[in-house]
């Protein structure tokens, strides 16, 4: 059985814990990650030569970060680790990777996709201006490069990351002009019973709020962003939002970090031909998985935030569960008691996840109010008005059809950042449920692929 060819995509919490279990079972997996170092999103490592401490970099999660990095170091000799390697396609039970412009086809018996999540974004008029970042990008600038995205930064959107990244900016000494949350305090209060499923995380969250208030950061809830102001030359100069009472306010700033929680990166699951189901709670299509991460395609497993957004701890559990599922499918023994305990723990996390979804909901209704001149697809510079035109005048009520007519989702990001909002705009204009709008079909490459790439046989 040592011959079983297993590939893991993603060296974040899910991928590393998955590798750990497989190595313990005597398998030597290939682990590919497009990043320069292991750690994934949350436990992202700083570049060599930078020397901020664990507490500085990871705050309350310093110990978990250290533990994950140590596990990874201990596995180095037992896995085939390939950093700076993008998994760009899956075909005929081979994973196609590219590194330094060399593409390789890696045959696999089992594939575990731990691709993580990226920001979920709702457009606002002016968000294409230089100086508007996603929350994730704002955090990466800080974690990786020790840079802030501006001198006076407004954080807008909703979700736990909104507060987390703002607090990290405050701690790093950056000036946070304000936090503008589209969700209301009331929603958070109502979600408390579910959020209480993970007391430690809840307490961390509350202490984040104290840090922010202590630093005098203005926090406004129940808002709706109206416009990000600025010019092509100088980028962002301010933001206008509507308060709960309908009044409009303007703030001066030179950068905006925008995000509405995160969404799984599902292109590899799509390329592996996994089935997707509509998730009514979060209003998005997600690959179908069983409780341990089996997809609908035999031998293809999905773990971590790339399958369901459970956060870093949940990703570690999901990585292990997927590894055990894989071993079980190979007819190998699995530690059932330990697995059942982790399944239960995962169940608790799922309750917390639901709490987050309710406390920080995706503001679907904003799509309906987006002015016609607001850009929806930034890659192709397509406005909400143009998207509505293809719905109303050309009858395009389905996502791929609307894309074919309008180019929304046809650019570099292939709809990863505009797809969800685009679907909401279409659904509203067509007067149909967003589920009926469907989802953009994924195609290779997962990210842009250089024409100078050459194929190499291993």
């Amino acid at each position: 059985m040592g011959q079983c060819r297993v590939i893991i995509v993603g060296a974040g919490p899910a991928g590393v814990r998955c590798a750990e279990v497989l190595v313990a079972a005597g398998i030597r997996p290939i682990l590919v990650d497009e990043g320069r170092r292991d750690g994934g999103q949350i436990y992202r490592r700083q570049p060599e030569g930078f020397n901020r401490s664990y507490p500085t970099l990871y705050g309350t999660e310093a110990e978990r970060a250290r533990s994950l990095h140590q596990t990874f170091e201990s596995l180095r000799g037992s896995i085939d680790y390939r950093p700076e390697t993008l998994a760009w396609n899956i075909f005929d039970r081979q994973l196609y990777t590219v590194s330094a412009r060399v593409s390789k086809a890696l045959p696999f018996d089992a594939l575990v996709v731990c691709s993580g999540a990226t920001d979920r974004l709702m457009p606002v008029k002016g968000w294409h201006r230089a100086g508007t970042y996603s929350l994730g990008a704002a955090q990466i600038a800080l974690k990786s490069q020790a840079c802030a995205i501006g001198r006076r930064v407004v954080f807008a959107g909703t979700g736990p990351l909104l507060y987390l990244v703002a607090a990290q900016y405050v701690k790093a000494g950056a000036h946070v002009e304000a936090i503008l949350d589209t969700s209301s305090l009331w929603k958070r209060v109502r979600a408390l019973p579910k959020l209480a499923a993970r007391p430690r995380v809840l307490v961390n969250g509350l202490s984040l709020m104290r840090t922010l208030r202590g630093a005098g950061v203005r926090i406004v809830t129940g808002i709706e962003p109206v416009e990000i102001h600025g010019s092509p030359e100088d980028g962002v100069s301010g933001i206008t939002y509507r308060g709960r009472d309908g009044s409009t306010h303007q703030l001066a700033c030179d950068a905006v970090a925008l995000g509405y929680h995160v969404r799984p990166e599902t292109q590899l699951a799509d390329l592996a031909r996994c089935e997707f189901r509509f998730d009514a709670e979060t209003r998005q299509w997600l690959p179908a998985v069983d409780q341990d991460g089996r997809s609908t395609v035999p031998g293809v497993y999905l773990a971590g935030d790339g399958a369901r957004v459970l956060g870093a701890d949940g990703a570690e559990i999901a990585g292990k569960l997927a590894a055990w599922a894989l071993l079980q499918d190979l007819g190998r023994p699995v530690p059932e008691a330990e697995r059942d305990a982790l399944r239960r723990e995962r169940g608790v996390m799922d309750r917390f996840r639901q709490g987050l979804v309710e406390a920080f909901p995706w503001p679907a209704e904003q799509a309906a109010r987006l002015p016609d001149e607001a850009i929806v697809c930034r890659c192709e510079a397509i406005t909400a008005g143009e998207l509505r035109r293809v719905v109303n005048q050309m009858g395009a009520c389905e996502a791929n059809r609307a894309k074919a007519f309008s180019r929304v989702g046809m650019g570099r990001c292939q709809g990863r950042y505009c797809g969800h909002a685009g679907a909401e705009v279409i659904a509203h204009a067509a007067g149909v449920p967003v589920e009926q709008v469907g989802r953009l079909r994924g195609q290779a490459p997962v990210k842009p692929l250089s024409i100078a790439v050459r194929e190499e046989v291993e």
Binding site: N89, F91, D92, Y96, S103, A105, E380, M394, G395, E398, R401, A404, F405, R407, M410, G411, R412, Q414, Q443, A444, P445, P448, L449, S450, I451, A452, V453, R454, E455
Partner: protein
């Protein structure tokens, strides 16, 4: 349920079906157009977009020319812009044999208005300085061009509706019978449609229906392989196709108005007709990416952002089944365009409407009669 009735029922709403519906309405006949998915969602909506005459068989040029007339009046006729760019078509070759092939074609086709010009290496490089050093000869057809396939058939379909055609999308026809004087079509959800005349424009699925009427054809469905780069400043001009001795080495490309370069080639891949999925084999993509910079070395500085394919019916003799049935009065076919039907689409619609309305065509299409396959089969037997 009462059957819906019309003078003509068309099965298959690709560019062929949509255009025929439009032109039949122009001739005053009532039309029902039935499409399993959405208009122009299959080959007609995902093809490379070449509106090229150069390289087509000489006997196809009258039909291609008739189609060209329609392309030139596209907006006027169908009411919307299809991003038609008439920047010419350039064919390039790497060897003296390629040059000879191009020169012979230019000679054979000289009476058909393509105005082809042979170009040597030096002239080519002066006019198209981005071409690679291996290219030794070219042939330029200044009046050919390309258009946006995602828009074309849907625009024609909407125009047909405006003209009074009844278009039913999401209507899969599961049985086609001749029942007395009328054809009766039944959809998957049991709706029925009747007409004394039926036209089958079901693309790669057309052979299934012709076979039911006792007219099987030697056709296989395959998926040509496409990819597209990120947008870059406009620089290429004509659509360019490179000749190769090995089919898989053929590459062709065009730059769309937005700036992206669409690159086709690398051979064909099997398709899933049942689930209507056409896949892109990464080996073919990589092989194409290796060959494309031989034509334009600067391609090596670009990235591709998406690949795709589509389902196309290829006849054994690379020619469509187009014209009346050899067996069933009132039945007509126009399918199996073998990788070259996008340019022909508007012309095929015009000709099929003429044929159905008047019983004859002013453009010769006898060579595409479906009866040729039965004759071949008899001779072989």
């Amino acid at each position: 349920m009462n059957a819906r009735k019309a003078d003509v029922i068309i099965v298959g709403g690709g560019i062929m079906g949509a255009a025929t519906a439009f032109f039949l309405r122009k001739r005053g006949m009532s039309v029902i157009l039935l499409e399993r998915g959405l208009i122009g969602q299959q080959a007609s909506g995902v093809n490379f977009g070449n509106v090229r005459r150069m390289g087509r068989p000489i006997e196809q040029l009258p039909l291609a020319n008739r189609s060209r007339e329609t392309w030139l009046k596209f907006k006027e006729l169908f009411g919307d812009d299809v991003e038609l760019l008439l920047n010419g078509h350039l064919r390039v070759g790497f060897t003296p044999a390629h040059e000879e092939r191009m020169a012979k074609y230019a000679q054979d086709a000289k009476d058909f208005g393509l105005d082809m010009q042979m170009m040597g290496a030096k002239a080519l490089r002066e006019r198209f300085p981005y071409l690679g050093p291996e290219i030794t000869a070219g042939c330029y057809a200044p009046h050919d061009g390309h258009a946006n396939p995602r828009l074309a058939a849907p625009i024609i379909g909407r125009a047909a509706v405006r003209e009074g055609a009844q278009v039913f999308e999401n209507t899969e026809i599961v049985s086609v019978e001749k029942d007395g004087e009328d054809f009766r079509m039944t959809a998957a959800d049991d709706r029925t449609f009747r007409a004394p005349v039926a036209l089958i424009t079901a693309g790669a699925w057309g052979d299934r229906i012709s076979a039911k009427f006792g007219e099987p054809v030697p056709m296989i469905a395959k998926g040509p392989q496409m990819c597209v780069t990120e947008p870059v400043p406009y620089a290429i001009g004509p659509t360019i196709g490179a000749i190769a001795d090995v089919f898989e080495q053929v590459v062709f490309f065009r730059q769309v108005a937005r700036g992206n370069i669409v690159i086709g080639g690398g051979g064909h891949e099997p398709v899933d007709l049942e689930n209507r999925r056409a896949y892109v084999n990464p080996h073919r993509t990589l092989y194409k990416l290796k060959n494309a910079p031989r034509v334009v070395p600067a391609f090596n500085h670009l990235n591709i952002i998406r690949v795709w394919s589509g389902i196309e019916g290829y006849m054994e003799d690379s020619s469509p089944a187009m014209g009346p049935s050899a067996r069933v009065p009132g039945l007509y076919y126009a399918f199996g365009f073998s990788g070259e039907g996008f340019q022909l689409g508007p012309g095929v619609g015009d000709v099929m409407a003429e044929l159905i309305h008047t019983g004859a065509t002013t453009t010769p299409i006898e060579q595409y009669h479906i009866g040729r396959f039965a004759k071949q089969a008899m001779q072989a037997a």
